[in-house]
């Protein structure tokens, strides 16, 4: 059981620079040879590029909760899904800041018994001009027994 009162909890924010080399590396990793990602200027970020934000400091030292602080048992937590809403362009050279909030907690009975708890964390990315350019939702699932 995860306490539903965690909805609304602010998670740590972060920041990342959208680097041209990282765009090329990411495009290759998703087997995408579209020349638009390899151009010298204004290369766009692939749709799931902000996953690479994991390389950047999370900024959680500046306040905000971590998953373990929310009563989640990380050994039983899996990444169930991911959703993106594209609000504006993200290009090489942009500087993004992000802030995340727990936006939903729901429960479902698992097929083999036990309860699965779905936790949604919504991250909003804002560029250097103060424009919100992306909303990314990460859906985590915590199983009632240890994952096997």
């Amino acid at each position: 059981m995860v306490d539903k009162s965690i909805v609304g909890t602010e998670m740590g924010g972060g920041s990342m620079v959208v680097e041209r080399g990282k765009i090329m590396e990411f495009a290759r990793a998703i087997l995408d040879e579209n020349p638009v990602y390899f151009q010298e200027t204004d290369a766009p970020a692939p749709p799931t590029f902000t996953m690479a934000g994991a390389h950047w400091p999370s900024g959680s030292g500046g306040g905000g909760a971590k998953l373990a602080d929310l009563g989640l048992d990380l050994l039983r937590v899996l990444h169930a899904g991911q959703e993106y809403e594209y609000l504006g362009e993200i290009k090489a050279g942009d500087s993004l800041t992000s802030r995340a909030v727990i936006s939903d907690v729901s429960e479902k009975e698992g097929k083999r018994g036990g309860t699965m708890t779905f936790i949604t964390s919504e991250t909003t990315f804002t560029n250097q001009r103060g424009e919100d350019v992306l909303k990314a939702r990460t859906i985590l699932v915590q199983t009632s027994k240890a994952a096997s």
């Binding site: 990282k22 590396e25 990411f26 495009a27 290759r28 990793a29 998703i30 087997l31 995408d32 579209n34 638009v36 151009q39 766009p44 692939p46 749709p47 799931t48 996953m51 690479a52 934000g53 994991a54 390389h55 899996l78 990444h79 169930a80 899904g81 991911q82 959703e83 993106y84 809403e85 594209y86 362009e89 859906i139 994952a147 096997s148």
Partner: protein, 145 residues
């Protein structure tokens, strides 16, 4: 700048896109390259010792690796920059040696403001027929106008 291969007029609700070339011979190299690009170094995706210890037959791909590869088929189809929403859920593990095939089905065609939009469902399956990933997308398509 976009390699758009489809226009709004070309698509009807119910249309299926099934001719995307499959990704053959999924390998550990794919997972390692995605780990480096994304920064997700969960050992389940590169360390067989860890993966087999908890009962998996071997390492398996990051859900977001499949999601990334699928997104590249989608942007090849609708054009980079035309994607408005993209959502995926992870259904099964992608193992080395698998062949991964994707398809899309147009579910809705409509106007939103001054944009011509489509919604589509997406799916990726391996060569055993196991669903690896389900998804959906919304795109604004250019008109032949």
């Amino acid at each position: 700048m976009d390699r758009v291969s489809v226009h709004f007029e070309d698509l009807q609700e119910g249309d299926e896109i099934t001719d995307w070339p499959p990704v053959e011979n999924i390998s550990r190299s794919h997972f390692v390259r995605y780990a480096g690009a994304s920064g997700d170094f969960n050992p389940m995706h590169h360390d067989d010792t860890v993966a087999t210890k908890v009962g998996y037959p071997s390492v398996f791909g990051h859900g977001m690796f499949s999601a990334g590869v699928l997104s590249h088929y989608v942007t090849d189809w609708v054009g980079v920059g035309n994607l408005r929403k993209y959502a995926v859920s992870f259904r099964g593990q992608l193992y080395p040696g698998a062949t991964l095939s994707f398809k899309a089905t147009v579910t809705k065609k409509y106007k939103e403001g001054d944009e011509n939009r489509i919604d589509a469902t997406l799916q990726g399956v391996d060569d055993k027929g196991t669903v690896i990933i389900n998804g959906s997308c919304t795109a604004a398509l250019p008109s032949r106008g």
